[in-house]
């Protein structure tokens, strides 16, 4: 019973994603796209908002991205071209919705972008959850291997805190993905651009009196 309801919550986009033949490009179901973003990671970034999310966290800022339908279809190479045309942006963030529901297509995109851009992804899954998921879905591991930073875990309203850097709630972590994969467990990034000069991943004392 539980299993089947969880199944129902699974993305048709993901199903299409993995069935895609190598000859045809994979499809990304897109909820929105921004350039010159400053709120979803350090530097100026493009933000790819994907459509569809299974988590339904209470207090989610983008509930319009939950539905599996809606949004617009695009391809990794189309998005790549949009990102390349921005000139100023040095990073790309996958957001949503749940990026890992469209892991294969986003992995394709991330591979087109690196190393010119640093690539980060949000996820409502935890790193550990993603590792487990990757046993069934190879695309999840492909995407993990293609990104630099993962901000993981669902939004938990009770732990919401607006003084956090690039995160919504205190349970979320900013992980160095290559290091985490190498260690086999979650490793926080040390990059001060992500976690602040003091490493607290919160707004430093200097930002207010």
């Amino acid at each position: 019973m539980n299993q089947s309801s969880a199944e129902q919550r699974t993305s048709p986009a993901r199903a299409a994603d993995s069935m895609e033949s190598a000859a045809r490009e994979r499809v990304i179901r897109l909820a929105g796209f921004d350039q010159d973003g400053i709120a979803d990671g350090p530097g100026l970034r493009c933000v790819v908002f994907v459509q569809g999310c299974p988590h339904h966290c209470p207090g989610c800022q983008n509930p319009q991205t939950w539905a599996w339908e809606g949004g617009a279809e695009t391809t990794p190479s189309e998005l790549r071209d949009r990102i390349f045309s921005t000139v100023l942006d040095t990073g790309v963030t996958f957001s949503g919705g749940e990026p890992f529901e469209q892991a294969d297509a986003l992995a394709d995109l991330a591979q087109m972008l690196r190393p010119r851009y640093d690539v980060a992804s949000y996820s409502g899954y935890t790193f550990e959850g993603l590792l487990k998921l990757s046993e069934k879905r190879p695309g999840v591991m492909r995407l993990l291997r293609s990104i630099d930073i993962l901000v993981d875990g669902p939004f938990v309203q009770a732990r919401a805190d607006r003084l956090l850097l690039f995160r919504g709630s205190g349970n979320q972590r900013i992980l160095d993905v290559p290091a985490s994969l190498a260690a086999g467990s979650a490793v926080w990034t040390k990059d001060p651009a992500w976690v602040g000069e003091d490493g607290s991943a919160r707004v430093a004392g200097a930002a207010f009196e």
């Binding site: 350039q35 100026l44 207090g59 040095t90 957001s95 938990v156 309203q157 607006r162 995160r167």
Partner: protein, 786 residues
């Protein structure tokens, strides 16, 4: 029999037939007649006529006039009747004009600044205070006078009807716009403010205090902003003086502690003389970074004066004294900078109603003293005023220069990075770029006065056709400027490009004449009319003049400037799109602005005066032009359908465009607008959390050839808990909701280059513009709850 006359204001006056006779005589003279004897006859006829109609012996002014006209016509003097009518009409107009002036005074007196656009015209004056109101009476009356007496009819018409805008019109006959103050020159040997003589300052605290006084004093002589061209170099000697003093006293103290018993060492008084000798012998002064000849001389002198003192003890004392003095000097400099910012935000000029518009340029002095000034200025700016509020003044301008502060390894690169961090939190400093081709062209290494300086709002003065050897920033400024309503010329051209350019040329002819007329008025002013600016030699070459001399020759160092507003709406009116929308329109836009620049250059070549083109900062004006044009032409989509015309060559704030694209589109206009320009990039979100993004934008500006630029981003503050950052409805720190309590969040925004604390003092058009701003590139707000 008529005995009394009822005047328009309700008063009664006695009837006087001779007044009627005189009026008729004047009308006869006006129509070229000289048979004045009949005037007397007519006077009698009028009296009779009035007696016949009046029942109570009274006649109204209108009745009298009517009777005179009838009598004239009956006597066959049609032409005289006509000139009598004209004369009366003229009197009526004058009377109406007077009462219009009085109505304006009434608005100034009784209406709250919040409801009156007139009173909020200048966001920096508190229109509700007594002094602010008095200023506005003066400005209103002065404008009336200037229009009636000083403008030619065609100029008055163009100004009144909104073809052009004459900036600072209330000061039309009185003074020039602004000046870049050279502090080093001013402080040398001390100066007088007109209220007393101030001797050359002796430590960093008095240097900073006098810098404020210089700004305040000059603000009373000019109507525009006041700027210090080389703030770091100007105050560096103050740091050196403070250091020398501390070093001396710390050394005396250290010696007295470290010297072995019985060894006589110079005490504090004696040390003064020792320092003076060492300075005289070495020709150097004690400096933060050390000065080899002085340091050697000092060491030798002390050993000579204290033969029993072991060298090791002396070296220990010297090292200790230097380190301690450095630290004390740093603290003193911080306090001086803190005081300076407080001062500039609270002091008043102009009868106490206005905080001086102050700007300071800095960033390229690599001396340890200059660096200490800038670092502490930035740190105190970052900290904010007493309760952490964002300082509104001065406008700070960090001057970026390759090889000096732009790249890792450059001596002041740390200060550039600190500037980015501070601006990401406080909106200042802005950034000016010496490396832009049209700025570097004048740059001579070793001559800081050739580095471009900007007046906070954007004004720039550098080239000098009057005196090409002195293409410098200091001691010069803008004389006056007038802006052209470009969109109206475009609307009137009905899509006909040739017609537009013909109209533009004619308008520039008119403006050139008007600026020349104003120059002539300004040129006749005397040194004594500018006791500080000219009397103290702040303006270039004014030190060569006497108290009663005309300023004509020296003000030729200044600029005569044309400006423009609404290039975007102009392009839409002419071609259907603006320059943000296509490269083709960009070319069209550049063609228009190039035409204006070439016109100015040609005039400069011809007259040997500095004619320049400015990208007008549009406060007040942006709403004035469009209101008039809406009335004239109705709502034209993309042209008159907003509350304001777009600022100069900017891409409209309501048009969504990437940051780089905006920079790339606006940069070529910087090269053309040699009297000043600024580009803003709007970013949404808390910039202080992402300084890397901020720096990326500034670097993009530098590399694209922008001359002067800044990033606009929201800066909010909760006065209750002191949180500074972006605040929505709820304070992120204390969770307070704005609607729950009386105390509102403070929201700092930038308006025409100046910061304004709340939106109250914005005039309506600027408020609408603030509201319409599209943050470049950003729409959504992150996910995973972030």
């Amino acid at each position: 029999m008529v005995t009394e006359i009822l005047k328009r204001d309700g008063r009664l006056d006695s009837y006087d037939e001779s007044k009627i006779v005189r009026a008729v005589e004047r009308a006869m003279r006006d129509s070229g007649r000289s048979d004045f004897s009949s005037a007397a006859t007519l006077g009698v006829k009028v009296s009779d006529e009035l007696s016949a109609v009046s029942k109570d012996g009274r006649a109204s002014v209108d009745e009298v006039q009517k009777a005179v006209e009838t009598a004239l016509v009956k006597a066959g003097y049609e032409d005289v009747a006509k000139s009598f009518r004209l004369f009366r009409a003229d009197r009526t107009r004058t009377r109406e004009k007077n009462s219009a002036l009085m109505h304006t005074f009434d608005e100034i007196t009784t209406r709250d600044a919040r409801d009156s656009d007139l009173k909020r015209d200048n966001a920096n004056v508190d229109g509700d205070t007594a002094m602010g109101t008095m200023l506005q009476y003066g400005a209103t009356a002065a404008k009336e006078y200037n229009e009636k007496f000083l403008l030619r009819p065609e100029q008055a018409k163009a100004y009144r009807e909104g073809d052009i805008h004459i900036h600072d019109f209330d000061f039309y006959a009185l003074t020039m716009t602004c000046c870049q103050i050279d502090l080093i020159k001013l402080f040398h040997g001390g100066f007088s403010t007109g209220h007393g003589f101030l001797r050359e300052p002796n430590d960093i605290r008095s240097y900073a205090a006098l810098a404020c006084i210089a700004i305040q004093s000059n603000q009373n002589d000019q109507h525009g902003g006041q700027s210090i061209a080389q703030f770091d170099r100007g105050l560096a000697p103050g740091v050196a003086k403070t250091f020398a003093k501390r070093y001396r006293t710390d050394l005396a103290e250290a010696l007295s502690l470290l010297a072995p018993d019985g060894a006589a060492v110079p005490d504090a008084d004696r040390m003064k003389a020792v320092f003076a000798t060492a300075e005289a012998r070495s020709g150097e002064k004690p400096l933060l970074g050390g000065s080899p000849a002085f340091d050697a001389a000092l060491r030798a002198d002390i050993l000579a004066a204290a033969p029993e003192l072991p060298e090791a003890a002396l070296d220990k004392a010297l090292a200790y004294a230097r380190k301690t003095a450095e630290k004390e000097t740093d603290e003193a400099t911080y306090q001086a900078m803190e005081a300076l910012i407080h001062n500039l935000n609270t002091m008043h000029s102009r009868a106490g109603a206005q905080t001086p518009f102050s700007s300071i340029n800095y960033g390229t002095d690599t001396s340890p003293e200059g660096r200490m000034v800038v670092r502490n200025l930035l740190l105190t700016t970052e900290k904010g005023l007493g309760h952490g509020e964002t300082p509104i003044f001065p406008i700070q301008i960090f001057r970026v220069k390759d090889g000096v502060n732009y790249n890792p390894g450059d001596p002041n690169y740390d200060l550039f990075q600190l500037s980015c961090r501070v601006s990401a939190k406080r909106l200042f400093p802005n950034f000016s770029f010496v490396d832009a081709p049209y700025n570097i062209q004048y740059y001579k290494p070793g001559h800081p006065e050739t580095e471009v300086s900007y007046m906070g709002c954007r004004t720039r003065v550098l080239a000098n056709v009057h005196d090409p050897d002195r293409a410098i920033s200091t001691g010069r400024g803008n004389l006056s400027f007038t802006s052209i309503n470009l969109p109206r010329l475009a609307i009137e051209a009905h899509g006909n490009e040739a017609k537009f350019f013909a109209g533009l040329d004619a308008m520039m002819d008119l403006v050139a004449q008007q600026l020349m007329d104003r120059f002539e008025i300004q040129a006749r002013r005397k040194v004594k009319n500018f006791p500080f600016l000219m009397g103290q030699g702040v303006w270039l070459d004014s030190d060569k003049l006497h108290w009663n001399d005309e300023v004509r020759e020296v003000i030729k160092h200044g600029t005569l400037t044309m400006g423009f507003i609404g290039l975007a709406e102009t392009l839409v009116a002419l071609y259907g799109h603006h320059h943000g929308e296509s490269d083709e329109m960009q070319q069209k836009g550049l063609a228009i602005i190039r035409r204006m620049r070439e016109y100015c250059d040609a005039l400069s070549a011809k007259t040997k005066l500095n004619w320049t083109l400015i990208a007008t900062p549009a406060e007040g004006l942006s709403g004035r032009f469009i209101r008039m044009d809406k009335k004239r032409y109705g709502i034209i989509p993309g042209v008159t359908d907003h509350e304001y015309y777009t600022n100069s060559f900017h891409i409209p704030v309501y048009y969504k465009i990437g940051a780089m694209e905006k920079i790339r589109k606006e940069a070529p206009y910087h090269a053309l607008t040699n009297a000043g320009h600024i580009t803003y990039v709007e970013l949404d979100g808390d910039m202080a959390r992402n300084v890397k993004a901020f720096e990326a934008v500034i670097r993009a500006m530098h590399d694209a050839g922008i001359g002067y630029g800044s990033v606009n981003h929201p800066v909010d503050r909760d006065p209750v808990c002191g949180y500074n950052g972006v605040i929505g409805e709820v304070c992120p720190k204390c969770g307070r909701r704005e609607s729950d309590e009386l105390i509102k969040f403070e929201r700092i925004r930038r308006i025409t280059g100046y910061l304004v604390g709340t939106l109250d003092r914005f005039n309506d058009a600027k408020r609408a513009e603030e509201h319409d701003r599209v943050k470049h590139g950003l729409g959504g707000s992150g996910s995973a709850g972030a």
